[in-house]
């Protein structure tokens, strides 16, 4: 089995066996994409919904980050664009191969949990109009992490 396959097989197994509250892995038959359902229990902005986070893995995974974005319903958040792209440093410059699907999902979950602004990024219209399909081709200027 390939490098990537072996690693994702292990991650998948861990995701299914070590349940993290609010993070559920949808069943899959290929290791090129994975969908994680993320819900946030203690923030009124997102309390009624579960969001789908799609991961696409290149052959260089885990040495290059997966392509990660929301699909279907996009949560309102000042770092999440209305096309589902997420401005999160660990998905770009600060990626290290020891990040996992679980650790990314938890980062995104806590990003939602700590937010109290019901708004999109200020450049949303412009970004969505010109955004490449793959968010990794955007060079994000990472928004202030404290928001």
């Amino acid at each position: 089995m390939s490098f990537k396959g072996k690693r994702l097989a292990k991650e998948y197994k861990d995701l299914v066996s070590n349940q993290v509250p609010g993070i559920t892995c949808e069943a899959t038959d290929s290791f090129d994409t994975l969908v994680i359902q993320v819900s946030v229990l203690d923030n009124p902005l997102y309390i009624d919904d579960s969001y789908r986070l799609r991961f696409i893995f290149s052959d260089k995974y885990p040495f290059s980050p997966p392509q990660v974005q929301f699909i279907d319903k996009i949560p309102i958040h000042p770092h999440i664009y209305s096309n589902g792209h997420i401005c999160l440093n660990i998905l770009g410059n600060d990626w290290t191969p020891s990040q996992t699907v679980a650790s990314i999902s938890m980062s995104v979950q806590s990003m939602l949990a700590s937010n109290n602004l019901n708004q999109r990024p200020p450049d949303d219209d412009n970004y969505v109009k010109h955004a490449p399909e793959n968010p990794q081709h955007s060079s994000f200027y990472y928004h202030d992490d404290t928001v």
């Binding site: 490098f3 660990i90 191969p97 020891s98």
Partner: protein, 505 residues
């Protein structure tokens, strides 16, 4: 030097167009009134590294840390020793924790024990050799750690952290040495070496007195050392008084210290920059010229240019023509090859219609055509220059000529390359200048210089060492007259810019 006798013997000079030479006196051009020198040192990256290490050792002696640690600290403080010392005085050893040199005691106790399972969390393989940084114990296999670091280092990072996302420990040169020792083969480019060059890059970029040589793959550095007079204090003042800081790296590439582009004397940085941007952007120009081949105007055979000379002879039909204008060469040859400018009536006509965009494109293409053909010729000259040593060796071995007596050949080639550069940039300048009589004077001088360059590069098409040696006088004479014409053109342009005879639009 044996050859110096020839420099002054006027009879030998082939200055058939002497009578046409522009009279400097008439224009009140003061020659080189007070040339202010831009002082600099050229450093190799090895020499630079020595001074970086000295700086680190200096700090190390004060605060009692290792050289490696100080290299990391200095980067965090933009190489300001005083700032490092200030923070060390107020923070003490805490500075190590805040800059990724050590873990806080709390974290140190919560570190994982060395795992017995020996399964790497990255590749999920069972491995024999695990690796962790000296200052923490986050273990991954040697292969994965190496791959992670070589990715990071290739992105030119010089401050790289432990692979564990929650860990803030910086990778040290010592850590890299330890990793490299696992790959003794030649295929492995040592991470240690890449890190050193990344740290050096960080150092140069934080210091406005240092610049990398912009030549491709060159690792030379130039250090600015002030001016020859105190009247000028800053680089800006120097540029504002119509000077150019042209410097040379240890590997003899010359470039402009202000804009880090190749030597663009005699024209100012902003014009060179605009010109380069324009010639890169314009898709028209890209389509307009197809680089190294042209068709013979007579028989349509494809002809490749193999040297810097513009005098082309078609191998198929023997038609002789000019590379730039594709016209019959004999038309150029006898009088003077009027190929560096439109003739006067054409210029006049051109200027009347100058307002329209079509004309402005035409005007641009006109100058671009000259610019690019000299640029291409320069590449070919450079190729020739590279093969020169072998030819010189042939001359020495086969004909028993001393090294010093072969100097004329090298010197002439160097002068040719330099003159071509000056001529090339002067075309870019004229594109931006309002048309007036002074421009006409510049064009006349361009034309003179262009002819000299053409003559000399024609001579360089000789390949037989015997012929080269026989033409030695001709090489010397032609390069001397070319040098004079180059100096005249440069001076006219400098004066024109200074006194605003040349009005840049």
């Amino acid at each position: 030097m044996a050859t110096s006798d020839y420099y002054d013997s006027e009879e030998e000079l082939d200055l058939s167009e002497d009578d046409l030479e522009f009279d400097l006196q008439d224009l009140h051009i003061t020659s080189q009134d007070s040339e202010i020198e831009f002082l600099f040192k050229s450093l190799t990256s090895d020499v630079l590294w020595i001074s970086i290490v000295e700086k680190a050792d200096h700090v190390a002696a004060f605060i009692g840390m290792t050289r490696d640690e100080c290299l990391v600290l200095l980067q965090h403080y933009d190489w300001r020793e005083d700032k490092v010392l200030d923070d060390f005085l107020s923070l003490g050893d805490e500075i190590k924790v805040s800059k990724g040199l050590a873990l806080s005691s709390k974290l140190r106790h919560s570190l994982p024990l060395h795992s017995l399972s020996r399964i790497c969390a990255i590749c999920c393989e069972q491995v024999d050799q695990m690796f962790h940084l000296e200052q923490c114990s986050h273990e991954y296999c040697v292969k994965c750690y190496t791959r992670y670091l070589s990715d990071k280092l290739r992105q030119q990072d010089s401050l790289v952290l432990c692979m564990e996302p929650s860990c803030s420990i910086s990778v040290s040169l010592q850590d890299l040495k330890a990793l490299d020792s696992n790959f003794p083969g030649k295929d492995h480019k040592p991470l240690y070496d890449i890190m050193i060059s990344n740290i050096a890059k960080n150092y140069v970029e934080s210091n406005p007195k240092l610049k990398w040589c912009p030549a491709p793959d060159c690792t030379g550095i130039v250090q600015f050392d002030g001016f020859s007079t105190y009247e000028i204090g800053t680089l800006k003042e120097y540029l504002d008084s119509h000077n150019l800081p042209i410097v040379t790296c240890p590997y003899s590439h010359s470039f402009c210290f202000a804009c880090s582009y190749e030597d663009h004397d005699p024209i100012p940085c902003n014009i060179a920059k605009n010109w380069i941007r324009k010639s890169k952007d314009d898709s028209e120009t890209a389509n307009w010229i197809d680089i190294n081949t042209k068709q013979c105007p007579k028989c349509d055979a494809v002809i490749e240019k193999n040297g810097g000379c513009n005098h082309m002879t078609c191998k198929k039909c023997a038609y002789q023509f000019c590379w730039i204008c594709l016209q019959d060469w004999p038309l150029h040859g006898t009088a003077y090859y009027n190929c560096s400018r439109y003739d006067a009536s054409a210029i006049k006509e051109m200027h009347q219609k100058q307002q329209t965009t079509k004309q402005s494109l035409k005007r641009y293409l006109h100058y671009y055509k000259f610019y690019i053909s000299h640029e291409l010729s320069a590449h070919q000259d450079n190729d020739l220059f590279r093969s020169i040593e072998s030819r010189v060796q042939e001359m020495q071995q086969d004909l028993g000529i001393s090294w010093i007596d072969c100097q004329f050949y090298r010197t002439a080639m160097k002068l040719l390359i330099k003159s071509r550069k000056v001529l090339k940039w002067s075309y870019a300048l004229l594109y931006y200048c309002e048309v007036n009589n002074y421009v006409y004077i510049v064009e006349t001088n361009q034309s003179f210089l262009s002819n000299s360059i053409e003559d000399l590069s024609h001579l360089f098409q000789l390949t037989d060492p015997k012929c080269i040696v026989r033409e030695r006088l001709q090489f010397i004479n032609l390069s001397n007259s070319m040098k004079k014409r180059e100096a005249a053109l440069v001076e006219i342009i400098h004066e024109g810019l200074k006194n605003q005879h040349l009005k840049v639009t």
